[in-house]
């Protein structure tokens, strides 16, 4: 491989009362790569992200992020080493303003006493402005986040991750509920932010997947079904049978 490996998932298995939601999965993501995971409902896509970010504990197998074993880490440490995760439904602080949402996500003053003395200094403000610009919310900084449109909420959550400058960014259905023009903008945004970091996206919208994916991983019943570029995957008979066929 020419590029350095950021994420190496090996033999990852998780079983809930005997049901294997993820079964001996291997997944490798390189730097600067934008990987899309697709698969029918219940294929284990979201569970894979849950496992990587520590929300669900693996039954067996390993998750290595730049040689750090993540399976033993608590969630907040996984974030601190550089893994960011966006949830399926926009998960933002509705009662706070856009600016405050971004400020809370700024990676400084994460301890109890650090947060007591945290001050909104010029570098924090500059960084917030920069991110707000990227996520198309520059003129909404004072707006209460709960009042944003669904698509803007999705962007805000992406922005909250970007401000932490993670090396691995995981997005669960980032364009769900977005209008066509919002999708265009998001595709552009994702292509831009995958420079210098790795991005994993779960998505159902095949047109959107085509636009952004470098490589596609297809999951089915917790197992890896196929992997490769979009064309190869789409013409794979196994994939057609379980997923694209109907």
């Amino acid at each position: 491989m020419s590029n350095e490996l950021v994420l190496a998932v090996e033999d990852l298995t998780v079983s809930f009362d005997g049901f294997k939601a993820v079964d001996k999965l291997n997944l490798y993501v390189e730097k600067n790569e934008l990987r899309v995971i697709i698969g029918p409902n219940g294929a284990g896509k979201t569970t894979v992200l849950d496992l990587i970010c520590g929300r669900t504990k693996a039954t067996s197998g390993s998750i290595k992020f730049k040689d750090i074993e993540l399976t033993k880490y608590p969630e907040y440490k996984i974030v601190q080493v550089g893994v960011g995760r966006k949830f399926q439904t926009p998960s933002i602080y509705e009662n706070l303003s856009v600016l405050e949402n971004l400020e809370i996500s700024f990676p400084r003053g994460r301890g109890v006493f650090g947060s007591l003395v945290f001050a909104r200094t010029q570098d924090v403000v500059d960084r917030i402005m920069e991110i707000a610009e990227m996520i198309f919310l520059s003129d909404q900084l004072e707006v209460q986040a709960g009042l944003l449109s669904h698509g803007q909420k999705q962007w805000l959550e992406i922005g909250m991750l970007l401000i932490q400058d993670p090396e691995l960014l995981m997005l669960d259905e980032p364009v769900a509920g977005m209008s066509v023009s919002e999708r265009e903008k998001t595709a552009e945004l994702l292509n831009r932010i995958s420079q210098g970091r790795s991005v994993i996206v779960i998505e159902h919208d095949m047109e959107f997947v085509k636009r952004i994916a470098h490589k596609v991983t297809v999951l089915h019943q917790g197992k890896l079904l196929a992997e490769g570029n979009m064309d190869a995957v789409q013409s794979n008979p196994k994939v057609i049978e379980v997923y694209l066929g109907h």
């Binding site: 998960s91 933002i92 706070l96 932490q164």
Partner: protein, 383 residues
């Protein structure tokens, strides 16, 4: 620098006015209006207000309903009572006991030497430190045990209530050590200063008021920091906070401990002003009453909690003097009223009904009177 103090510690213009009104009420109106007997009673109620202020932080902002604030109130109160009792049990005044020099209730219970844990309470410095450190250690231990395992909501409430019950049973059961159900009574002097005189009662009342306002200012500072916004964020989307790199449990433990320390200061002031400490003040019922004080005052309002405490206790005194059996029903009705009709308590009622009118009146006054320009505090960059 002054601006930072103004906006961070006092809570801006509105916060400063709220505090000034409260201070005037406690320091000027009450002492002028009431005789020392009644004022001492208000002082007692204001010690409960510490617990209510703590609950605003823990429950209102932290989203953790603790039904065991009496535990911490009791720790503070008992620490102070132990010191005062030791001072009251000098050799001269206990000469007629089988074992002179130990508290009277120990003598009655055939205890012949001072238990080891009582020894350090000969020192006032140790006692004052214990009042602050002990409750935070207990709250820390409970917090680590609960929050690190993600125990929350109603389970946390039940466990804190159980701890309050256990503590009461322990205190009652260990009569020789704690004074049992009667508590620790007959307290006389603090470092040689008689606390039962009228002048001492005035001084303690003012000290109590000053500490209470200090506690509120401290809480305002915490709430105005990023920690305060994190607490709001956690109530909204706890997972998002966790996956933004914060150890959520630590913030809950901190808030719970802060509430505990504030309660304990109230407890210590209770002992000083009322002159005794007993298990009836720290158990389940008083712990729940503290929650009602905070709820009626408005669980998101620090100053509201003080008014809520005063109102409920005033009602309790006034009502139970004339209709003793009806009071509990009335308190129950009040609580139901808060839950069903005005969930933000007195503070909420003020915001909806009074605030708008008051502002109109103020605006009119300003038009007529000499125009005073108040420089607005810039909420921008802080250096």
């Amino acid at each position: 620098m002054m601006n930072a103090f103004y906006s961070k510690w006092l809570g801006g213009k509105r916060g400063a006015i709220e505090l000034a009104v409260l201070a005037a009420f406690i320091f000027i109106v009450m002492p002028l209006w009431l005789d020392i007997f009644r004022l001492n009673m208000v002082g007692k109620y204001l010690t409960y207000a510490f617990a209510a202020v703590g609950l605003v932080m823990v429950w209102g902002y932290g989203g953790i309903l603790s039904l065991g604030q009496g535990i911490f109130f009791g720790i503070g109160g008992y620490c102070m009572a132990m010191f005062l009792k030791l001072e009251a049990s000098d050799l001269a005044s206990t000469a007629r006991q089988t074992t002179p020099g130990i508290p009277d209730f120990m003598d009655w219970n055939q205890v012949t030497s001072l238990p080891l844990i009582w020894e350090p309470f000969h020192s006032l410095t140790f006692t004052l430190i214990a009042i602050l450190v002990l409750p935070s250690v207990v709250a820390y231990v409970i917090g680590v045990a609960m929050f690190k395992r993600r125990v929350g909501g109603v389970y946390f409430s039940i466990i804190t209530q159980a701890i309050a019950a256990i503590l009461t049973i322990l205190v009652v059961g260990q009569q020789g050590m704690t004074g049992g159900i009667n508590g620790i009574t007959d307290l006389k002097t603090l470092h040689g200063w008689n606390i039962n005189t009228n002048s001492a009662k005035y001084i303690l009342y003012y000290l109590n008021g000053a500490l209470l306002i200090g506690a509120i200012v401290l809480c305002k500072f915490v709430l105005s920091s990023k920690l305060g916004r994190l607490l709001l964020a956690m109530r909204d989307k706890e997972d998002r906070v966790r996956f933004s790199g914060y150890d959520v449990a630590n913030f809950k433990i901190f808030t719970f401990s802060l509430g505990a320390v504030i309660s304990a200061i109230g407890g210590a002031m209770f002992t000083l002003q009322v002159g005794f400490m007993s298990p009836s003040i720290i158990g389940i019922v008083p712990s729940i009453e503290m929650v009602i004080f905070a709820a009626i005052g408005g669980r998101m309002s620090l100053v509201g909690a003080v008014y809520g405490t005063l109102l409920v206790n005033y009602g309790k005194t006034a009502f139970s003097e004339s209709f003793p059996s009806l009071w509990l029903f009335l308190m129950g009705a009040l609580f139901i009223g808060v839950v069903m009709v005005f969930p933000n308590g007195l503070a909420g009622l003020y915001d909806t009904y009074l605030k708008g009118r008051l502002e109109k009146v103020m605006a009119k006054l300003r038009e007529r009177g000499p125009l005073r320009k108040l420089s607005p505090v810039k909420a921008g960059v802080q250096k």
